[in-house]
Symmetry: C2
Subunit: 207 residues, 2 copies
């Protein structure tokens, strides 16, 4: 069975659980003590040299890392990836936006506030990250006033990637009340078949 | 003809020029005054709401953004993307690594030092970015001692994505003398057919 090395509250790990559940692919989760340095051991780096979760063991000794690459691997050949070439690239555009312009601000603010504590001397950096996080939310709001989903007028990997941290942005002190299009999109994402919440146990455990 | 809105010294823009040249696809470049705020105008944001270069106009009024998504669009169906499913996902793994764990450190350090100047009060942040940039180089060096290219034992989009800023990392004051595997990989990348240097004019202009 697939083994997902993860930290359950991480949005990046949640992305993988959500897609696998929606595809009906069974997996088990192994909680990783990221705050205790478990991803920085040589044993873990032998699995994933980038030293992060999620790390997925596809079969014994075969690993894949980076949440959005894992989404791609399982999304290929399914309706989670648009069949049109341009829309497929557009989906990837939003997934790269998520990792470059969204996650470092919205996810990191939440991680500092909820899990790690604000590092000493980083108060001003947190303000900057908050500002850039709002810039990412502004971009999303603008898109979602024009279309129901980020690519191909359908729920795709891009929506999973962006939903993961956006829907818990308030834990990072982002005020979502000023983003009606984003909140309406939350409902569309949550109404997809076999939706899984970030707090839900992984299906294999829940059975 | 394809129109590439770009800032010529940007590694992200260079990625697109390099791939298009290697594929023999003609394009023209439009230099964008990123330091003067040209990407933050409402006119530019109508092209690309993420407000960055590269932004590619595929046909009049149809735009695609995010360097690695542009690479994917043109790489599909070519030898620049591995035919094996796992290696294809592995390629994307390294492209997401590039945007999350490499570019924000190595490219930003170079941009501050060479183009923008180190922002006031950011000296300590530059040190942190330098440290994280070396961590990314360490990961690359480890991979390149095991295989000739990042995915599928062949030159792929992942190599283009990682080469773009790594080969000019010394402009960001990174010492590459301690990375023999990376330097040997530079030579393998540079020896690919129709290689283009970052300083070369775009082919359409050079003709």
């Amino acid at each position: 069975m697939l083994k997902l090395y993860q930290f359950h509250p991480s949005g990046n790990c949640y992305k993988v659980r959500l897609l696998l559940h929606q595809l009906g692919i069974p997996f088990e989760t192994l909680e990783t003590d990221i705050m205790g340095g478990a991803t920085r051991t040589s044993e873990f780096k032998a699995k994933n040299p980038i030293a992060r979760v999620p790390t997925l063991e596809l079969e014994p000794g075969v690993f894949l890392a980076e949440s959005n690459a894992i989404l791609w691997y399982f999304g290929e050949g399914t309706p989670f990836i648009p069949s049109d070439k341009l829309e497929r690239a557009r989906m990837l555009q939003w997934m790269f936006f998520e990792q470059y312009s969204h996650e470092p601000y919205i996810a990191v603010a939440r991680a500092w506030i909820v899990f790690f504590g604000i590092p000493a001397g980083k108060e001003r950096e947190l303000e900057e990250r908050t500002q850039k996080g709002y810039a990412a939310l502004d971009v999303m709001e603008g898109e979602l006033t024009k279309r129901p989903f980020f690519a191909g007028n359908q729920y795709s990997l891009a929506d999973i990637a962006l939903y993961a941290y956006t829907h818990v942005a308030e834990e990072g002190r982002f005020d979502l009340s000023r983003y009606p299009a984003i909140r309406a999109w939350f409902e569309r994402v949550q109404s997809q078949p076999k939706h899984l919440r970030i707090t839900d146990l992984a299906p294999a455990q829940a059975r």
